[in-house]
């Protein structure tokens, strides 16, 4: 990628942030909580989006942003006091601007009339001004006074021999110096156009004693011997023309060039509306200074996380050595080490916190979604956001957007009843959807709840039977019934509506949450609504694992996949097929796999009954019994990928570093389960075997 493309990408990232800031500000305006600085911030966000868009030639975006900006400028200067209706237009304009940004980002064109109604509304708000264009506006209109010059001989041909060029009289005023302009640089710049004869006029120079450094005493007469356009000469004086006496005349032999129109410097298709005079109080001191932030390459943070992890391990080893050496616990060394351990724990927490961000960035996408859904479903929806400041790992945040979007869609589309039904049920016409986040016990809990009709269990059951997910005779608790909606194949075409059905069902939502190491729980009360609770780890870099021994080696199993661990009895293990076995767990038979044999670890327990079995479950693929030699304990481990340096290994998800500094491999339970079950034990076979040998 070239650097321009990197900046372009950066621009779109920044746009995302600016759009969020803009929406936040507009929402504050809507609720009447906006102060002058909020409105300024909204204006700046739109202005910055426009500015960057101009740099990348995004003319449609710039055009739209410009009209939007004009209205905002009226608002911040007090010309326009936004009423509820006009704020709605501004919110809609924000959405259209976001559409423009997304279209530009993905390189697809918006419909030609996209947002036209909004453009018209904005124009009306701006009092028609946004439509007025200043055709080819002179960029220097206010500061550049063209000098009149007698061009009586403008017919000469280019390249006339003799002395083409310009005679320039230049006498700076004191103000020129006060603005840090420097005549010497201007002369140098003139020389870059061609050879110059410079004559200084010292006649105004006072005696040294009277010299006032803030005044100007010098003047110059320059003969520029170059066949250059007048505009090129004027450009040299562009910045100082108001702060000097300047005369530019043709030398005796005229040059061919005639005054050229000044180059237009902005895209022609970006209409510019006249700026309204600014209210003098507009830059009143802002309410509060924003938090200072820096942007850091995630790799750098991860390196830091690694180093701190290493430090913690080294410290643990050191402590162990000291203990082994027999030093008293009260010795200065031991005390020092205890202190170090304490500090390191704080350091580790602090470093982990660098990777975290408030969930706000995801939450803030939802108001727009709900506004759109509300229109599409013709339901009145009030969205409540809570705990937006709750922080969680950046990677988790990035992967929360999709599932949350889907759940909010569901809540509005399926959760809330139609307005008439709500009124009939004696509920307020406006339904409420609440999205909240909080920290609870070292994890983050995100809830999506609605005050709708709750899950229609009879309907869910009927559908599940219809889809063959359960037998018609199955006896299910309410909870089990509710959980049917997570079954793959539950949400299918017949149930797809415009809104919720986009080819993804709740099974996909559950899968993505589980991929993040999280869990999802439904709580639904008929007539009162439903609540979906997601529980997620604060970071993906850490995993709760069960540490097991196989052969001489140590492996880690992710706790999220473990159903139970048990000591198998000899008689519960049945050979199956050529070289496979099944383990009877209560009334079910589960394929039994020896981890040692699977991974080719020498010296492991040859007999599963001599070791321990861990029953694992993989979403979608079912259960598997993994035989290991011994369980060593449970602990939180830091996940280390080795794929970058090596490659993906079947059955291994990643690695981690244990307390003794050694590397241990983390088993890929999903991979192992799906491979073993596909490989060896087709579901039918197992069911057959289970029927044949069952009680």
């Amino acid at each position: 990628m070239d650097s321009m493309e990197v900046i372009r990408q950066g621009y779109f990232q920044e746009c995302e942030e600016l759009l969020l800031a803009m929406e936040e500000g507009l929402i504050a305006m809507e609720s009447g909580e906006a102060d002058a600085e909020t409105i300024n911030a909204v204006f700046r966000a739109v202005h910055s989006i426009k500015g960057g868009g101009g740099a990348f030639g995004l003319s449609h975006l710039v055009k739209f942003a410009h009209g939007f900006e004009t209205v905002l400028d009226h608002v911040r200067s007090g010309v326009l006091t936004p009423e509820a209706d006009s704020i709605k237009i501004l919110l809609r304009a924000g959405d259209v601007l976001a559409d423009h940004v997304n279209a530009a980002r993905s390189g697809r064109a918006l419909a030609a009339d996209h947002g036209d109604d909004t453009v018209a509304d904005l124009a009306a708000l701006a009092g028609g001004e946004a439509e007025e264009e200043e055709e080819g506006g002179d960029p220097f209109a206010s500061s550049f006074t063209p000098l009149r010059l007698d061009l009586d001989d403008d017919t000469s041909t280019p390249g006339t021999p003799g002395m083409p060029g310009w005679r320039i009289l230049f006498r700076p005023t004191g103000r020129l110096y006060a603005k840090a302009n420097e005549p010497f640089l201007i002369l140098r710049e003139l020389e870059s156009l061609g050879p110059c004869e410079v004559e200084a006029d010292l006649s105004a120079l006072p005696p040294l004693a009277d010299f006032d450094t803030d005044r100007s005493y010098l003047g110059w007469t320059i003969r520029l011997m170059a066949d250059v356009p007048r505009a090129a000469v004027e450009e040299v004086f562009e910045f100082v023309v108001d702060d000097c006496v300047l005369e530019i005349e043709l030398l005796a032999d005229p040059v061919a060039d005639i005054e050229l129109p000044l180059p237009a410097m902005a895209p022609q298709d970006a209409p510019e509306a006249p700026q309204t005079p600014e209210a003098p109080d507009k830059q009143a001191a802002p309410a509060e200074a924003p938090k200072q932030t820096i942007r850091v390459d995630l790799d750098k943070v991860d390196r830091l996380v690694n180093l701190v992890g290493e430090l913690v391990i080294t410290q643990a080893m050191l402590t162990q050595r000291v203990t082994e050496s027999g030093l008293a616990r009260t010795s200065l060394v031991s005390n020092g080490l205890a202190e170090l351990e304490h500090l390191l724990r704080d350091l580790q927490e602090g470093v982990m916190a660098i990777r975290t961000q408030p969930v706000k960035s995801v939450f803030q996408r939802m108001p727009r979604l709900v506004r759109e859904l509300s229109v599409q479903t013709e339901k009145q929806v009030h969205l409540v956001l809570e705990g937006e400041a709750t922080e969680v790992d950046k990677t988790v945040i990035e992967r929360l957007g999709e599932p949350l979007t889907h759940m909010i869609r569901n809540a509005v589309d399926h959760g809330l009843e139609a307005t008439a039904a709500r009124i009939a049920a004696g509920k307020p016409a406006e339904g409420t959807v609440k999205l909240s986040a909080e920290h609870r016990g070292g994890r983050i809990v995100i809830e999506v709840s609605d005050n709708g009709g709750g899950i229609n269990r009879a309907r869910v059951r009927e559908k599940a039977v219809e889809k063959g997910l359960i037998s018609a005779a199955a006896v299910l608790t309410d909870e089990e019934t509710d959980n049917l909606i997570f079954k793959p194949g539950f949400s299918t075409a017949s149930q797809v509506s415009n809104i919720s059905g986009r080819g993804v069902g709740m099974d996909v939502v559950r899968r993505s949450i589980q991929d993040l190491g999280g869990r999802i729980v439904i709580n639904s009360v008929p007539g009162q609504g439903s609540r979906f609770s997601l529980t997620l780890p604060l970071t993906l870099a850490v995993l709760d694992g069960m540490v097991v021994a196989v052969g001489g080696q140590t492996f880690v199993l992710p706790l999220t996949h473990i159903v139970e661990s048990l000591k198998p009895r000899e008689q519960d293990i049945r050979p199956f097929g050529r070289d496979r076995s099944l383990l009877k767990v209560r009334d079910a038979y589960v394929p039994l796999v020896k981890v040692g044999a699977l991974l080719g670890v020498p010296g492991s327990q040859p007999d599963a009954a001599g070791g321990v079995v861990i029953l694992v479950e993989s979403e979608g693929s079912g259960r598997l019994a993994l035989a290991v030699d011994q369980i060593l304990g449970q602990r939180q481990v830091v996940i280390k990928s080795f794929e970058a340096n090596y490659r993906n290994i079947d059955g291994i998800a990643a690695a981690t570093i244990l307390g003794d500094g050694r590397v241990a491999l983390i088993l890929d339970v999903d991979g192992i389960v799906s491979r073993c079950r596909a490989d060896a034990c087709h579901n039918e076979d197992i069911e057959l075997a289970a029927t044949g040998t069952g009680p």
């Binding site: 650097s3 321009m4 990197v6 900046i7 950066g10 621009y11 990232q13 920044e14 600085e37 300024n40 911030a41 204006f43 700046r44 202005h47 910055s48 500015g51 960057g52 101009g54 740099a55 410009h66 200043e134 506006g137 960029p139 220097f140 209109a141 206010s142 500061s143 006060a178 603005k179 840090a180 302009n181 420097e182 010497f184 640089l185 201007i186 710049e189 040299v236 562009e238 910045f239 108001d242 410097m265 902005a266 510019e272 509306a273 006249p274 700026q275 005079p277 600014e278 830059q283 802002p286 200074a289 924003p290």
Partner: protein, 122 residues
């Protein structure tokens, strides 16, 4: 003949564009995100040769920033370029009145930017 240039702009994209254009031309760039930050950076980096500043910024806008620089005995002679858009002649005039040395019209191309810097910096 590289200069040390302080860029003051709240838009990251604009800062990036400035950095790219200026560093390619052999200049060193010090960045600030608003006027207040610019004042801090100016105090921390005594060797600033040129300042390029935006107008619309949070905390301290471009006019106030320019005014501050022109009152600062250490920095008052530092040339300042203002980033304006074509539609803002009034703003440009105001920036000049506040003491800006010159201006650059957004969107700018790298050549014009570098030429403008050359025109104001020794």
């Amino acid at each position: 003949m590289g200069k040390t240039i302080l860029t003051v702009d709240d838009s990251r994209t604009m800062r990036n564009m400035l950095v790219m254009a200026l560093t390619n031309a052999g200049h060193t760039v010090v960045q600030a995100e608003d006027g207040m930050h610019g004042v801090e950076m100016l105090a921390q980096n005594p060797g600033i040769d040129v300042i390029i500043t935006d107008i619309n910024m949070p905390r301290m806008d471009g006019y106030m920033f320019i005014d501050h620089v022109r009152r600062d005995p250490q920095a008052r002679t530092t040339p300042i370029l203002v980033l304006t858009t074509e539609s803002e002649p009034a703003k440009k005039q105001r920036a000049r009145d506040a003491g800006a040395t010159g201006w650059i019209v957004k969107p700018f191309d790298a050549e014009k930017l570098v030429a403008a810097v050359r025109r104001i910096a020794p």
